[in-house]
């Protein structure tokens, strides 16, 4: 580099410095304005728009102002051609797309999540067996707070390509119990009692009506299905409380919820003798866990007309 070139480059320095400082200043001003607008919108719209919509609006406002400042002020200030940016951006997009497919995939998925909005901030959701509250939806990832209170970051691509269950998308939902009663109990009476409990429950919706009916004649019980519709905000509290109320009320009315049991019919009388009224120390085998039978006579005898399986010939 000769002296003339050095001098000319030195003369160019103030221009570069000026445009750089100017660009930084514009960016700072844009950030300040963006923040100010965000705070103003947050204060004025807090009670009027739900949190999910408000967050998206704030992000759009904030990043919109910064983008506007870059396109309108910073690019001309730094002498960068906008048309050149578009061409460069296109080429760069292809390169970056190949180089960082997952990042771009997450970005695009995030965009479609924001547009399609299958989930909103505050919703209770299940994404690929990750269950919790949606805390935030960013452009690359979705933040979930699990019901255990854990922080979980799920890439948007996973969110977008997984089955999403939104537990609170609708305003009402149904839950179900299976209540078993003894075969000797009156199922009609049990249904009447359960219906009365549901009628007295404020948040068990009147419409759609609850369904209470005998579903199956099970091995150990007559099974009554109870289906109740409830507001989405109340169903869980009600579900966790009502089953025990039903159980207690049925028992108060003489209807038992049986435990699993099996009646065994022997083909003949068991030939055992009752225990005499003796102390347990006279039966050491009882302490060892042997059957408390003083004298066994082997298997019961088969009578005429029966087989080993107990069936009649």
């Amino acid at each position: 580099m000769n002296v003339t070139e050095m001098i000319s480059s030195l003369q160019a320095v103030p221009g570069i410095v000026f445009s750089t400082v100017g660009a930084v200043l514009v960016l700072i001003i844009a950030i300040v304005i963006g923040k100010g607008l965000t705070i103003h919108l947050q204060r004025s719209l807090k009670d009027k728009i739900d949190k999910g919509h408000l967050d998206i609006l704030l992000k759009v406002g904030y990043y919109g102002i910064i983008t506007l400042a870059i396109v309108v002020f910073i690019l001309p200030l730094t002498g960068i051609e906008r048309s050149g940016i578009l061409v460069t951006g296109g080429v760069l997009g292809i390169v970056i797309g190949f180089a960082s497919q997952s990042i771009v995939g997450n970005l695009i998925s995030g965009f479609f999540l924001i547009v399609e909005r299958p989930i909103k901030i505050g919703d209770q959701i299940n994404i690929a067996n990750n269950v919790g509250f949606v805390e935030d939806i960013n452009i690359f990832s979705t933040i979930i707070r699990t019901f255990d209170g854990l922080y979980m970051r799920i890439p948007n691509q996973t969110v977008f390509t997984s089955n999403i269950t939104n537990y609170v998308a609708n305003i009402a939902r149904r839950f179900e119990y299976v209540v078993g009663i003894r075969y000797s109990d009156d199922a009609d009476e049990a249904i009447r009692i359960i219906r009365e409990i549901i009628d007295n429950e404020p948040f068990a919706l009147n419409n759609p009506p609850a369904g209470v009916f005998v579903d199956t004649l099970g091995d150990n019980s007559v099974n009554i299905i109870v289906r109740i519709w409830a507001p989405i905000t109340e169903w869980f509290e009600m579900k966790t409380r009502l089953l025990w109320v039903i159980k207690k009320t049925l028992e108060e009315n003489g209807i038992q919820v049986p435990f699993p049991q099996r009646t065994v019919w022997f083909p003949g009388e068991l030939q055992t003798k009752k225990l005499p009224a003796k102390g347990m120390d006279e039966f050491p085998e009882a302490e060892k866990g042997y059957p408390l039978v003083e004298e066994t006579q082997g298997l019961p005898e088969l009578h005429e007309g029966t087989t080993e399986g107990g069936k009649s010939k």
């Binding site: 009670d47 009027k48 728009i49 998308a169 609708n170 305003i171 009402a172 939902r173 009628d199 007295n200 404020p202 948040f203 919706l205 009147n206 419409n207 759609p208 519709w229 507001p231 905000t233 109340e234």
Partner: protein, 236 residues
């Protein structure tokens, strides 16, 4: 019952006992009934208490602003007709403390009616409503105002068909409740647009010292993005 009270006082009301006592410069509010006891300490409070009817959509807890009144008997409306009927609504009471500058603050609510809710519409597009079943009266019914109030409802059929009306859905935003010694009332309209769509709203009464307007909980402060009309788009 619906009146202004100066502490200390005790009211016995159908199994509910409401009392306010003074204690070392504070007020102790207490309400007891067979299934619950509520006690609140009002620090440095000294104002009067007001008990008046409030919008009947708050108990056991406010989850909606809509009241659905299911008619015991359907009403048939001729084409282009306008008819007045009387319905009942469940009374909920609000207990307010009145501050030094006349401001009111709700401290408790109660009702003697059984609360029940329902879904109007479908689970994905409908609304949750407080449910109430009402007989349809042609003239003002004499009611026990501790339990029920009356709605003077003008039904306007703007269609060219006979329309069967089985229910009305009202929005608590916009409700105007009036009360006197022997009456708790609202005045409303229901304009039928077509077989599946109607609009409901409320009108005012002329107030007198004996027939006053209630303190309302669902007021214009929250109305910025909420409509005060009830839109019945899932059937009438």
């Amino acid at each position: 019952m619906f009146n202004k009270y100066t502490p200390p006082f005790t009211i016995n009301y159908k199994g509910h006992e409401i009392s306010v006592e003074k204690e070392q410069g504070n007020l102790i509010y207490k309400r007891t009934c067979e299934y619950e006891t509520i006690e609140k300490v009002l620090l440095g409070a000294s104002g009067d208490f007001l008990i008046n009817p409030i919008e009947p959509v708050n108990l056991p807890k406010p989850i909606t602003s809509y009241l659905l009144i299911d008619f015991e008997r359907p009403v048939m409306m001729g084409p282009g007709s306008k008819q007045k009927i009387y319905l009942t609504f469940p009374v909920e009471m609000g207990i307010f403390i009145i501050g030094g500058k006349g401001e009111h603050e709700l401290i408790d609510m109660l009702t003697l009616n059984r609360s029940k809710y329902t879904l109007y519409g479908t689970p994905n597009r409908g609304i949750i409503c407080r449910y109430w079943k009402s007989e349809v009266f042609a003239s003002y019914p004499n009611l026990d105002t501790r339990y029920e109030g009356d709605i003077e409802l003008d039904i306007i059929n703007d269609t060219n068909h006979w329309i069967e009306v089985t229910k009305s859905v009202f929005n608590a935003f916009g409700m105007k409740i009036y009360y006197g010694n022997d009456r708790t009332s609202m005045r409303a309209f229901m304009r039928i647009v077509n077989r599946h769509l109607a609009e409901t709203g409320f009108m005012t009464y002329t107030t007198t010292p004996e027939f006053r307007r209630s303190m309302e909980l669902y007021t214009a402060r929250k109305l910025m993005l909420s409509t005060i009309k009830g839109i019945m788009e899932h059937g009438i």
